[in-house]
């Protein structure tokens, strides 16, 4: 069966420090991968998604970047954190659209990382 791992669960970082959040998926190949951010009591904001190794689509220009060095690994990074980067970060995957009609299946989420920038 497929599983998704996201870590760490909580993180407190000072302003100006770097960030690296990692997400890995097991039990599937060539998944679509997603990074979302959720402010307290709010909806999910799509930050990045990837349909393949090295392919990153950025939805919101900001202080963050994403990379996909391996098929089932998705990394969210920042060189210098801002206070406004605080939030709940969620990684998700779903099967790619290949072979499926009309297109896609449900997304499976990790348990999230609560980032507090102080």
């Amino acid at each position: 069966s497929q599983t998704i791992h996201q870590w760490p669960a909580t993180l407190v970082q000072p302003v100006g420090s770097p960030l690296s959040l990692e997400c890995t998926v097991e039990g599937t190949s060539n998944p679509n991968l997603y990074w979302y951010r959720q402010a307290a009591g709010r909806g999910l904001q799509l930050l990045f998604y990837s349909v393949g190794i090295g392919q990153i689509s950025s939805e919101v220009p900001q202080n963050l970047s994403a990379s996909r060095p391996q098929d089932r690994q998705f990394i969210l990074s920042s060189k210098k954190l801002l206070l406004s980067d605080s939030g709940f970060y969620l990684c998700a995957w779903r099967h790619s659209g290949e072979g499926l009609t009309p297109g896609w299946t449900e997304a499976f989420f990790g348990q999230g990382t609560r980032l507090t920038v102080v």
Partner: protein
């Protein structure tokens, strides 16, 4: 943006009552899905309805889709305290199905 608003933003009901949440979107879609999120956790998929479907059931859940109005509703019947959570709808655009866009969600409180 592709996604509109969900309403209500917050809903409080007594156990046993039905809960109805609505979702609106702006662009043509392939599918619409509903997810549930317990406080501080990841989202869990509840139900998917395709653009050519009008209604779908899963246990105590009933989802409707009106593509002419670009809206969907989620009905939870005979609610339980354990249904307390936030509920989100998500869509993909007809022309960019790789993107999964979520609405702002409805916070449901079921009072025992």
């Amino acid at each position: 943006s592709q996604q509109g608003e969900e309403d209500p933003q917050a809903l409080s009901i007594q156990e046993g009552e039905n809960a109805t949440m609505n979702c609106s979107y702006k662009t043509s879609i392939n599918n619409l899905q509903w997810y549930r999120q317990n406080s501080g956790r990841g989202l869990v998929h509840l139900i998917l309805i395709r653009s050519n479907e009008r209604e779908k059931h899963s246990g105590r859940l009933r989802v409707t889709l009106d593509t002419s109005k670009k809206s969907s509703s989620l009905l939870i019947t005979a609610s339980r305290a354990a249904d307390t959570a936030s509920y989100f709808c998500a869509t993909d655009a007809l022309t960019s199905y790789d993107k999964v866009i979520f609405g702002p969600g409805t916070s449901l409180s079921v009072i025992p």
